[in-house]
């Protein structure tokens, strides 16, 4: 963690993505984004912006620039390949006779 006040040479606060876990046992879910000078303040701003109505028991923040995302233009290559590959779903298979406990 950088020392408090050390925001480097930048003029604008960086963007942070906020993930909120609404209760124990559930996953953190992306809630939105915000600006903050550093990670400590980002968690506090996230608390103020995204947990005002009892939405959460835990908050994660991650600098938006640290997220590596899939390329929207490569959607075909990335996400259309499973189409037609029904054998990847359990329901594709018929239950064999004589198998117990299924």
């Amino acid at each position: 963690m950088p020392s408090p006040g050390d925001s480097g040479p930048r003029e604008e606060w960086p963007l942070w993505e906020v993930f909120v876990r609404s209760s124990r046992g559930l996953s953190h879910v992306h809630a939105g984004s915000l600006h903050a000078p550093d990670e400590t303040m980002a968690v506090r701003n996230a608390r103020d912006l995204y947990t005002r109505r009892n939405e959460g028991v835990s908050v994660w923040v991650v600098r938006a620039s640290d997220i590596t995302a899939s390329d929207p233009d490569a959607r075909g290559a990335f996400f259309e390949s499973p189409q037609g590959k029904d054998f990847r779903h359990a329901i594709y298979y018929t239950k064999s006779e004589g198998v117990a406990h299924l």
Binding site: P4, G5, H35, A36, L49
Partner: protein, 291 residues
């Protein structure tokens, strides 16, 4: 003074709940009402000041943070004023909107202008350290209503203190400009610290109470024994924590003098009148209006 029984878990007291209990016969006595009025006015006036940041914050996120803190503190004010008003048959709105300047009992720190962001942080740091120790002590008040209000407020103030501390460090250790402004903010607010930690006038027997003029100061002080917190006892905590934080932020502990004070007796500074005018104008132009 009879001991009051409250069957409500601490942490969820609301002005509406206090109102219900007042209707059930749980009104404040005169000395307790005077005490609650002072605490309520401190919170009300500070909340009004914080509200001035809404739509004026340096960043959208800080705008919301200061607004949140202001609303928390307004909640404390509503509870204290609702309870205080029960002694005189007045509502929180009667007390907030239809008293004039000399009738307000806030200590002068709270009415000071917001200044720049650093000055607001300086005031909020001083106020949060004070509220933190005050409410943690008041949680053990023998008055169940005051104890419940304090228990709820203490949790919220914990966060306010963290917010102010984080910004003190960042402004103090940030750029030359931010350090200069943070220092100026502290210098501007420091003269009001002594008054903040001065005795409650009711306990000191200096009250100009409306209705218990016939009763002795000693009796009034005795009525508040175990009920009220003496701010003088909280000063050591301030001296133990705030100067160290200021030094941690690379700044200088101010060596300013102190104002004469007197907020609890209705003596206020120049900036208070305009604040009241803005806070009260709508309610006075349209009495009884609701929205």
């Amino acid at each position: 003074m009879s001991v009051k029984q409250r069957q409500v878990p601490t942490g969820i007291v609301t002005p509406e709940l206090i109102e219900t209990e007042i209707e059930g016969g749980l009104a404040a006595t005169e000395p307790i009402a005077q005490y609650a009025l002072g605490l309520g006015d401190d919170a009300l006036v500070l909340a009004q000041r914080l509200g001035e940041w809404i739509a004026n914050g340096p960043e959208l996120e800080e705008d919301i943070a200061l607004g949140n803190i202001g609303l928390d503190i307004l909640g404390h004010a509503r509870s204290f004023l609702t309870y205080a008003g029960s002694a005189w048959g007045m509502t929180e709105d009667d007390l907030a909107y239809f008293r004039d300047e000399p009738e307000f009992r806030c200590r002068q720190l709270f009415e000071q202008p917001i200044g720049d962001f650093a000055q607001t942080i300086a005031r909020q740091l001083i106020a949060s350290v004070y509220f933190d120790s005050l409410y943690r002590a008041l949680m053990h008040s023998s008055d169940a209503t005051l104890a419940a209000i304090a228990a709820k407020a203490a949790k919220e103030v914990d966060y306010h203190l963290d917010h102010s501390t984080q910004w003190l460090l960042r402004l103090g250790l940030g750029t030359d400009e931010s350090a200069l402004r943070m220092q100026r903010g502290l210098d501007a607010m420091w003269p009001f610290v002594a008054e903040l930690y001065s005795a409650e006038p009711v306990a000191a027997g200096e009250s100009d109470d409306r209705q218990d003029a016939g009763r002795g100061a000693e009796q009034r002080a005795a009525d508040l024994e175990g009920v009220a917190v003496d701010p003088r006892a909280l000063r050591a905590h301030f001296d133990d924590t705030v100067p160290a934080l200021i030094e941690q932020a690379g700044l200088v502990v101010p060596k300013t003098g102190s104002v004469r004070g007197g907020g609890r007796l209705g003596i206020h500074s120049e900036a208070f009148g305009p604040l009241l005018a803005e806070m009260q104008v709508l309610a006075r132009q349209h009495p009884g209006a609701s929205w």
